[in-house]
């Protein structure tokens, strides 16, 4: 058993103190990073509760439930920011990157504390893959949200559709890495490959929207 709340407090405390001294985008990044970690913990609570309630077995929760819970939870702060603060698109991108990174960082911390950190190569590969996967998913949703704002009449459809895309992508990753062997290797390569393929068109899209 790990005390994930204590770990969260230890990592979040310096970040929140730093946020007091920071301004503008740096402060936004620190705050969203912390929010991302909190969301990770809350998602684990929900998945844990569903397991406790007997909705599914412990082995099946990460395959079928966690992707849906995690992606939905990651979207909530972004919806709040979008509806209440109404930031410019650049601010939304920055916030979502920080949120995804915070989420992945906390998940990695908890994983390392649970499974051990002896095998540096494996930890690096897994850490990078999870980090990139969460980032890709949250960027998908935010790109969908920005497009949704533009389509006006179909805004909700585009937003929920892109959320569904992120959930499917996340589910596939979790399924692939659920067993060791070739499938796990494909799973770890998948997020990195996605980033490599999508970087150039993504930059072009970002430049023009």
């Amino acid at each position: 058993m790990i005390y994930s709340e204590n770990i969260l407090l230890c990592i979040a405390a310096p970040l929140l103190v730093a946020a007091i001294f920071l301004r503008g985008e740096s402060r936004r990044f620190a705050v969203f990073f912390t929010v991302g970690m909190c969301i990770c913990l809350l998602s684990a609570y929900i998945s844990g509760f569903l397991e406790f309630a007997g909705v599914m077995d412990a082995e099946k929760i990460p395959l079928y439930v966690s992707p849906v819970v995690e992606e939905s939870m990651k979207v909530l702060p972004l919806i709040f920011v979008l509806l209440v603060i109404r930031p410019p698109e650049e601010g939304l991108f920055l916030g979502s990157v920080a949120l995804g990174t915070g989420f992945a960082t906390f998940e990695n911390c908890c994983y390392i504390l649970t499974a051990g950190a002896e095998n540096l190569a494996y930890i690096l590969v897994r850490g990078l893959a999870v980090g990139v996967m969460h980032l890709v998913c949250v960027l998908m949703v935010i790109l969908g949200t920005i497009l949704a704002r533009r389509t006006r009449t179909f805004s909700l459809a585009a937003f929920v559709g892109s959320l569904a895309t992120a959930m499917c992508y996340h589910s596939l990753y979790n399924l692939l890495v659920s067993q060791p062997g070739v499938t796990a290797i494909i799973g770890y390569v998948m997020p990195l490959l996605t980033v490599l393929i999508l970087t150039v068109p993504y930059r072009r899209i970002r430049k023009e929207i």
């Binding site: 533009r150 569904a164 959930m167 596939l172 068109p201 072009r204 899209i205």
Partner: protein, 264 residues
């Protein structure tokens, strides 16, 4: 392994086609810059690829079919919503509200969903999917009306055809044995007549000299019709419809490129 490949051949071929279309769409996005429907189409392709891979991997890894409300169902709902958003965004002027179209969409979609539920027993899941299908069908009807792609006679034919399918399938659900096979065949004839109609209409437009504004609406409607055919058919009709569905994906790409050319 060989049995697995044969059993999932359609899925594997479709993944290959999807990879090619994704590559082509990405290339277009890179060259021409972002156009909202094309970016939304990229989301659709990613969802289709993810669900396709998910299906194949799940069967390969666990040897069993999917559990409860899975990524496949979420992906299916996402595809319905994104297709509607893509089509809606391809029109310069927003599509106006139409109560008759809404009623027709609800009737068609919940008629289908009720029959899926009656055959498989997964009522809650099918009704949720039916709701999102209704949204897509509502958008399609308004899109087809806007571009005047179907004549009054053709609309009536589709209405009567759909009613015929619902009637045949409602009887089939309550029967057993050879009667079911005959009723299934009869409803498949109507489904495939619809598919043939869409294919002929699309090919005619593509072979014509000038671009047609309604091509994208027609292709997406054809795709949706095939999806409904698949969900209400057993083998071999399912497999044939699935193969035509793969062709329809390429046609969506072609129609989108044509529309993109007009938009730029």
């Amino acid at each position: 392994m060989n049995a697995f490949i044969l059993g999932n051949l359609n899925n594997i071929v479709q993944i290959g086609v999807l990879l090619y279309i994704s590559y082509r769409n990405l290339g277009n996005l890179q060259r021409r810059g972002p156009w909202v429907p094309a970016v939304l189409f990229m989301f659709i392709l990613v969802t289709m690829l993810a669900t396709g891979f998910y299906w194949v991997t799940h069967v390969l890894m666990t040897g069993e079919y999917l559990y409860g409300f899975s990524a496949m169902d979420i992906g299916e709902i996402g595809i319905f919503l994104l297709l509607a958003a893509m089509l809606g965004a391809s029109f310069e002027e927003p599509l106006s509200r139409d109560l008759t179209a809404l009623a027709a969409a609800l009737l068609f979609s919940f008629g289908n969903a009720a029959l899926w539920g009656a055959w498989k027993g997964a009522w809650a899941r099918d009704m949720i999917a039916g709701l999102f299908l209704a949204f897509l069908v509502y958008t399609l009807i308004r899109g087809l009306n806007r571009t005047e792609s179907l004549s009054r006679k053709e609309w009536s034919a589709f209405g009567i055809g759909s009613a015929g399918i619902f009637l045949l399938q409602t009887v089939a659900v309550q029967m057993e044995g050879t009667v079911v096979k005959i009723l299934d065949f009869a409803s498949s004839v109507i489904w495939f007549a619809g598919i043939l109609f869409f294919l002929i209409r699309i090919i005619r437009i593509l072979r014509g000299d000038r671009p047609d504004e309604g091509l994208l609406s027609l292709v997406v409607t054809g795709y949706t019709w095939i999806i409904c055919t698949m969900y209400l058919s057993g083998d071999p009709y399912y497999t044939i419809a699935d193969l035509i569905n793969t062709v329809m994906l390429v046609l969506i790409m072609v129609a989108l490129e044509q529309k993109w050319g007009e938009a730029v």
